[in-house]
């Protein structure tokens, strides 16, 4: 969880109420999905980069972090678009009988899709890197997201490190008894048994945690203290942010120029 390192910095976003950040994040993602031109997405990405700088997150780190998986996921999905979209032909390749055309509309579509995914990924990275995880959880609780969902996320985050450690210990224990280089088949088999063991252990852990909850009076409803307060600044930023997004989407729909 390298991104969490920045959540303790004294930047602008770090000081904002997690609820405001969560809502703004949703507004940003919805706007990114709604707009239909690269210009609008470019403006949105400028907004993200500005917020990133104001929150003292190293821009290079941020760009690397957000771009690294884009070609892998969005790129693969967008790859066929230039070939299958009908429109003005940009290029034409012939391999014997097979003729492949690239249309400019297709290229634009692919670029739009990839850029759109980047804006969504970047906004979620920005949210996670400027908010402590427990604040995020509390924010979601207060926004009345389904309790069971929030609880699942919170418990997952709490125990994931434990299970990673456990898995790591198991790997070490296995390696310490491995003398010969293993054959591929044996490696797969020991991995499978490790997964099974880990599954049983987590199941047992779940039971014990449930007992610990019951012992402290848990009967199925999670309660929490009301410890967040919205400041004027929070509200001002929320409204400003919402207006910017609205403006971008509106301009986009009114075709006021842009490419």
């Amino acid at each position: 969880m390298q991104v969490q390192e920045f959540s303790g910095l004294a930047g602008v976003l770090q000081k904002i109420d997690p609820r405001v950040k969560l809502c703004s994040f949703i507004v940003l993602v919805v706007s990114a999905v709604a707009v239909r031109t690269l210009t609008s997405l470019f403006i949105l990405s400028l907004v993200i980069i500005t917020l990133c700088a104001l929150s003292r997150i190293p821009i290079r780190f941020f760009l690397l972090r957000t771009t690294i998986f884009i070609p892998l996921f969005a790129g693969i999905i967008a790859l066929p678009l230039p070939f299958i979209t009908p429109g003005t032909p940009l290029a034409r390749f012939a391999f014997g009988l097979l003729v492949v055309r690239i249309s400019s509309e297709g290229v634009y579509k692919a670029a739009l899709f990839t850029f759109r995914v980047w804006v969504c990924v970047a906004s979620s990275v920005l949210l996670i890197s400027t908010t402590k995880f427990h604040e995020l959880i509390h924010g979601m609780e207060k926004l009345r997201l389904p309790r069971i969902l929030v609880l699942m996320m919170s418990v997952t985050y709490r125990f994931i490190f434990l299970f990673v450690n456990e898995a790591h210990r198991m790997v070490l224990a296995m390696e310490s008894r491995t003398v010969k280089r293993k054959r591929w088949r044996d490696a797969v088999r020991s991995l499978a048994s490790m997964m099974a063991t880990l599954f049983i252990r987590s199941y047992e852990r779940g039971e014990r945690v449930y007992f610990a909850m019951t012992a402290r009076g848990y009967t199925g409803t999670i309660r929490s203290l009301d410890e967040m307060s919205l400041t004027r600044r929070d509200l001002f930023l929320a409204v400003a942010f919402f207006l910017i997004c609205l403006l971008v989407v509106a301009t986009d729909y009114l075709h006021l120029g842009g490419w």
Partner: protein, 274 residues
């Protein structure tokens, strides 16, 4: 009758798979008492503790806490009065931050927010964990985790505190601090302490009475000194007396009127050092 904290009458417990963990256990814990449940691994200690909190229902016999049966509509009262600290703190700390964990119990009791805050602050202070509110459980040391787990239970202000293997995974410093905190708790709040352990060198510092479990049966019950002096019971239960007591038993001819010492402190004062 008023004075009884926990009473087990003829309690047997069998797990769903048929394994019998406890057989006809009779035990009376008096209020304000410090009692140790001694037993080897698998002797039934943890099962006994689960019964005392109403997490398990006995197969036969009855469990009552402060006069109420630990079943049905009394369950929530029983769980409020009996604070159970599990062996692995990672099972007990399941919230994002320590503060959330400490508030969890009081919030379930339906207390006002103000009261929840007061109790949580108090519990953290009692366990010397002030300033740890926003810490994440996986950033704590083993000793801190153990104290945190106790704090989560203390916040409910129980009258009886039950600990399962409290010294497991603790280093010497953690053990020392824990012993001190437990003594302070008992002295200042007259808490009833029930401690299940096989750490015989730790237990004389935090308990006065000992019950020995062997294969699900209660084989001895009495003052700590008497129990540890009776070698045969300990051997049968696959336990041994504290190391100091063993030494005394080997070199001293008779145990005198007070029995053999159990701790280094006691041995020193018997030898005339202060």
């Amino acid at each position: 009758m008023e004075n009884v904290a926990i009473e087990l009458k003829d309690v047997s417990y069998a797990y769903p798979d048929g394994h019998v963990a406890l057989q006809r256990v009779n035990l009376k814990v008096v209020r304000g008492e410090r009692i140790a449940i001694l037993g080897a691994n698998g002797a039934g200690k943890s099962t006994l503790l689960m019964l005392m909190n109403g997490l398990y229902a006995p197969s036969t016999g009855t469990v009552s806490v402060l006069g109420n049966p630990a079943t049905g509509r009394y369950l929530s009262t029983v769980r409020r009065e009996v604070g159970l600290v599990f062996q692995d703190p990672d099972d007990q700390l399941f919230c994002p931050t320590l503060w959330d964990d400490v508030c969890f119990g009081p919030l379930n009791m339906g207390l006002s927010e103000e009261e929840v805050r007061i109790r949580s602050v108090e519990a953290l202070r009692a366990m010397a964990l002030e300033g740890y509110e926003d810490k994440l459980p996986h950033h704590l040391s083993a000793g801190e985790k153990k104290r945190a787990a106790i704090a989560t239970v203390l916040a409910m202000r129980p009258k009886i505190l039950i600990l399962d293997e409290p010294t497991a995974n603790l280093d010497p410093k953690g053990r020392r601090e824990l012993a001190k905190l437990l003594r302070t708790l008992h002295d200042s709040q007259s808490l009833t302490l029930v401690i299940a352990t096989h750490d015989v060198n730790f237990v004389p510092e935090v308990a006065d009475r000992a019950c020995v479990l062997n294969c699900g049966r209660l084989v001895a019950d009495g003052p700590m000194k008497e129990i540890f002096s009776e070698g045969s019971v300990m051997e049968q239960a696959n336990l041994e007396p504290p190391i100091i007591t063993q030494l005394y038993r080997a070199v001293a001819k008779d145990q005198g009127t007070d029995g053999f010492p159990l701790t280094v402190q006691e041995a020193l004062s018997e030898l005339g050092y202060h």
